[in-house]
Symmetry: C2
């Protein structure tokens, strides 16, 4: 049965972590937010669910996934559901819990990245909170970036199946998310990442291996991959990359 | 087998969402962070796992749970694991996914509350980011508070089992978390909550019902319940409650 992904149509955002999993697995899916309104897709289809009176399990916000009768929101939850179904997670409960734990930590990392350019409120423009953003970004780069990357580097190093993936002996969905994290950080903080990467060689090797997976590689050069831009989570503001 | 909770010993924090579930269910558990160092507990026991070389599934941060050989981190993940085992979630997959979705949204809410007093960085004192905090709190109270509370009110209203709980016909772990959210908001923002509560009567009724559950009621007046204080997530700074 076709997976239907509901997410904003002009940013990678949190939806990209789901897109990467669906693309890498070759799953049959529709990116509803990017479809034509004439076909009942596009932004109105997202709003119809967010505001619809009849939705029993309403999402708080995109991304969310519909799979037949099932509607699931929250990025990590969507990936937890998809993982074993699309070959990106084992079925063993203990292994699945660890993947979910890793993905939740990725999403905390993502929130921290987002808050470097919007520390005070999403309802204010970046320009209205730029001074606070400069301090937030400096503290993020000094403390949070090495803490998160050091953690994931450690997780790969300790993997009992060999220090190649975050968990187990093959790619799982948090590995794809780690690829996206490295890509995003290189986009947003090129100066700082150029200096930092030497400390996270296992993560960089993981990133490089993921980038070569045939379906993912094809996706990344396709028009389906939305370029990074200054409306998303990872934004290139040179004044924050000092 | 005894559940071992690892969390800071002087704040409710994110660990409280796990404590409430363990207490309400009458589960056999030890709050390791609050135990005696002479017994191998207390803060050193937490640090030993965070920094231990032999931990295969290392946590990024507290809270985390040990259950026999299994180690699980991330609050929502811990509750997802515990839920069916302690009678606070059904075993049906679709129902469990919705509970996890709700808990993840609770944790996003918690992060937003935290960031009202620490918008720029956790590495700075509140007093160093007070001006930014005033704006952040104002925007939170105007936009985010009604969005979150309105969402959860809607979820209760739409519950096909009757508009009493967030999901199903009996208390599940996100209901306990919603109790904590109401308690925390009343502590941190008494003026604003006094005005807002009339709009969320189902959530308040849920809060009141949870508060009367015998084991939870006994816990709340016991020394095991750490009082709200200005080191936790919910802080009473009158200048932010305007």
């Amino acid at each position: 049965m076709t997976y239907e992904l509901f997410y904003h149509n002009r940013i990678q955002g949190r939806g990209e972590f789901v897109r990467l999993a669906l693309e890498d697995s070759g799953a049959d899916y529709v990116d509803i937010g990017r479809g034509e309104e004439a076909k009942g897709q596009g932004s109105p289809a997202i709003m119809a669910i967010l505001n619809g009176q009849g939705v029993v399990h309403p999402p708080f916000a995109p991304p969310f996934l519909r799979h037949g009768e099932i509607m699931i929101a929250q990025t990590s939850n969507v990936l937890h559901y998809l993982g074993p179904r699309i070959g990106l997670a084992p079925t063993d409960e203990n292994a699945r819990l660890f993947l979910l734990q890793l993905q939740l930590t990725v999403m905390d990392f993502v929130r921290d990245v987002h808050d470097t350019h919007h520390p005070i409120s999403n309802t204010l423009y970046y320009e209205e909170q730029k001074d606070a953003a400069k301090i937030a970004a400096q503290k993020f780069l000094e403390f949070r970036l090495p803490k998160y990357l050091g953690y994931f580097e450690k997780v790969v190093a300790r993997n009992p199946s060999g220090a190649r993936y975050l968990s187990g002996g093959s790619v799982t969905y948090p590995d794809l998310s780690m690829f996206q994290i490295v890509e995003g950080l290189r986009y947003a903080f090129p100066q700082n990442m150029a200096k930092a990467e030497v400390n996270y060689q296992r993560l960089i090797a993981l990133h490089d291996e993921v980038a070569q997976r045939p379906r993912l590689k094809a996706y990344l050069v396709s028009p389906r991959r939305i370029p990074f831009n200054e409306n998303g989570i990872f934004r290139r503001y040179p004044e924050l990359d000092v």
